[in-house]
Symmetry: C2
């Protein structure tokens, strides 16, 4: 839960998730969407991965990232419980 909220607590990472919602993208394609260095984006992707919000698959020399929204159920449940 902590890892999840931590991962979501950054605008760049939330934007990455919104991008990946539309399409799987390689690390480079994601980096190109931001005015941030590739290593920084790589770091953000690592945080998203550790929170299980994305998965990655090596495709030749590229690494393709995919969003995993199932983990967001946990956040939804926590919030909905709080609202009841």
């Amino acid at each position: 839960m902590n890892l999840l909220f931590k991962a979501l607590n950054d605008d760049t990472r939330r934007q990455i998730l919104e991008l990946l919602k539309e399409d799987n993208l390689t690390a480079g394609q994601i980096a190109d969407a931001f005015n941030i260095s590739k290593p920084s984006i790589s770091h953000h992707l690592d945080i998203l991965k550790r929170a299980d919000l994305v998965t990655s698959e090596k495709k030749g020399q590229y690494v393709e990232y995919t969003i995993n929204t199932t983990i967001l159920e946990d956040v939804l449940k926590w919030i909905i419980t709080l609202k009841q």
Copy 2:
């Protein structure tokens, strides 16, 4: 949105919200529930207030805090949109 995620990105603050879900509490009562100094709790309450997750009302020499869950709709919507 940023303020909201920031406020939720701390275990103590999430626990404060869970306490306030059960009952309105004064700043002191909230502080008593944690092994953290009163000024630190006061600071957490300020962050929750700025995110509009709680409201406060002065009652004599006490300050009573109330949870505001309506603002969580924004987070729910963001997550649900991401999942679709």
